[in-house]
């Protein structure tokens, strides 16, 4: 059984059919990419799977269980984590605290214990601080750890989101354009990072416009166009598919 199965998924916003009848499956341990021109529905697809939008039609299953329409916070409990195309960093917190929020579900969230600072809770919090710093080192942000998120540059924030998602110890991680807006050196670093994540047994679903990165890194690729599934397959199959070439005409596939 595939880790994630999507069946005939559709989402309409008024008249706009952002995702139409899309089906695919992601096997555990793979890097699975979703590509397509701007407005193809990639982000909408992520939003549907991670519970931010409710599907108009179709089903989504994680480990065989239907998760369509379940709230995002409940999906996090099932081991889903993600980053956002338009940064969703908490600018009112420090970089380290952002990462610590990622570990939310592993912690004691009791209000009274927190106010009275129970020793167990305080100890776990200190440990978490170290773990979060370790994660920031992993994504290459160790120098920022004590800084407010609002004073970090864009490229660092992109990586901060990855660190935060990793802090949740997810089994499946959705990355929405992690390299968008980055220069080629930074893109290479993200490429490297995604590989490291995948090597740590996290299934990665990736949306990315950087074709070099996508073709290199992906085990399988899903191509969307105008909300519809154009094709799906390995990097080579996709690259040689005439429909894909037509959809991308003029861009460097």
């Amino acid at each position: 059984m595939a880790l994630l199965e999507v069946d005939n998924l559709s989402k309409a916003f008024g008249g706009v059919k952002a995702v139409q009848d899309v089906s695919f499956a992601v096997e555990r341990g793979l890097v699975y990419s979703v590509i397509g021109p701007n407005g193809a529905g990639k982000t909408t697809l992520f939003n549907l799977i991670t519970g931010i939008y409710t599907p108009s039609e179709g089903d989504i299953r994680l480990e065989g269980q239907s998760i369509a329409g379940i709230a995002p916070h409940a999906l996090a409990l099932k081991g889903m984590a993600r980053t956002f195309q338009n940064l969703q960093v908490c600018m009112n917190m420090t970089a380290l605290e952002n990462v610590m929020v990622g570990a939310h579900l592993q912690l004691d969230r009791n209000l009274v214990k927190a106010m009275l600072r129970f020793p167990g809770l305080a100890r776990r919090d200190r440990e978490l601080r170290d773990e979060a710093r370790e994660l920031m080192r992993f994504v290459g942000l160790e120098s920022y750890w004590n800084l407010g998120a609002s004073s970090m540059p864009y490229g660092a924030l992109k990586r901060l989101e990855i660190a935060r998602a990793l802090a949740a110890k997810p089994q499946i991680l959705f990355l929405d354009e992690p390299a968008a807006g980055l220069n080629s050196r930074e893109t290479a670093e993200i490429d490297e990072l995604v590989r490291k994540v995948a090597d740590n047994n996290v299934t990665v679903v990736l949306v990315e416009h950087d074709m070099k990165m996508v073709m290199n890194i992906s085990d399988r690729i899903l191509v969307l166009d105008y909300g519809k599934k154009l094709t799906e397959g390995t990097a080579r199959e996709v690259r040689e598919n005439p429909d894909v070439i037509a959809a991308y005409l003029g861009s460097n596939v």
């Binding site: 916003f13 982000t43 939003n47 931010i52 939008y53 956002f84 338009n86 969703q88």
Partner: protein, 291 residues
């Protein structure tokens, strides 16, 4: 039975029309700037108090009325220019506090200038009640309803038929896009505040002969106007008018049939019910927020 009902209905829609005007003012400013203007009620107060003052000063009614609408409009523009514009990027709470500060300043000044007493002036067409179905209707109520209807039609015309109106609508849809197509959004904001202040003042000018006015009536009237705007789905013009009438009528009915002591609580009980069961008001749109 029926006459009593009619009586409550009449007083309900009369007050409701004033709420509707205030609600339209809220809606206008909310749409143009996302600000909830807690000073809206003060414009209602200003309208009534200024007519009173100018008539006492010996000016004829039409001149007094014109001034009582024009001055609040200028105050509205000043508020926008001096207080809202410089704080554009502030959080919602901050903006709310700024407008509350403005409302305190306005009513404080009026209190110093015109005192704490309650004031009124005669109705525009006398005060001989008209008898309908056993109930009585003051001619001033007809003024309130007539002018409100006229204002609503004029606003509709303004927003759907004139360039200026469309520019305001465009700005409320998407400020950035409006700027890109060359709309002067600063000007739009200024006009919205002026218009909304004028709307509030008109309500005050019309209602005062029926209900009296004093320096401190603004807050309750304004809050009820806000309720009306939210009942109508915050952002919808038609919703604001319906919301205003609905709030006015329900308030009058509850005061008449249930308890007049709780009259002022009625709009707020109503709004809680609506927020519970119709979270987006009567005519509010359903949107999926983009992520």
């Amino acid at each position: 039975m029926l006459p009593q009902f009619l009586q409550f209905l009449f007083s309900g829609i009369t007050v409701g029309a004033t709420y509707a005007l205030a609600a339209l003012g809220f809606t206008l400013i909310y749409n143009a700037s996302n600000v909830i203007n807690f000073a809206q009620g003060e414009f209602i107060m200003l309208g009534g108090m200024l007519v009173f003052y100018f008539m006492q000063a010996g000016l004829p009614l039409p001149v007094a009325v014109a001034l009582a609408i024009a001055i609040p409009a200028v105050v509205g523009m000043l508020l926008e220019k001096l207080a809202i514009e410089p704080a554009r990027d502030a959080e919602v709470v901050t903006l709310i506090i700024i407008t509350i500060g403005a409302s305190l300043v306005i009513r404080g000044l009026i209190q110093i200038w015109l005192g704490k007493g309650a004031h009124s002036y005669p109705g525009f067409s006398g005060s001989d009640p008209i008898h309908i179905g056993g109930a009585t209707l003051l001619p001033q109520s007809l003024w309130v309803l007539g002018v409100t209807a006229l204002v609503v039609v004029a606003l509709w015309y303004f927003f759907s038929r004139t360039l200026a109106g469309k520019a305001i609508l465009a700005t409320s849809c998407n400020r950035l896009a409006a700027e890109l197509v060359g709309i002067n959004t600063q000007w739009v904001l200024l006009v919205s505040f002026a218009l909304s202040a004028a709307l509030g003042a008109i309500g005050g000018v019309l209602l005062t002969p029926i209900t009296l006015t004093s320096y401190d009536v603004g807050i309750m009237l304004g809050l009820k106007g806000f309720v009306a705007a939210v009942v109508g789905g915050l952002g919808s013009g038609l919703g604001a008018v319906l919301g205003g009438l609905l709030v006015g009528v329900i308030e009058a009915m509850a005061a008449g049939y249930i308890s007049s002591a709780y009259k002022d609580a009625v709009p707020f009980i109503l709004i809680l019910f609506i927020l519970f069961f119709m979270p987006r008001g009567i005519l509010g749109a359903q949107v999926t927020e983009r992520v």
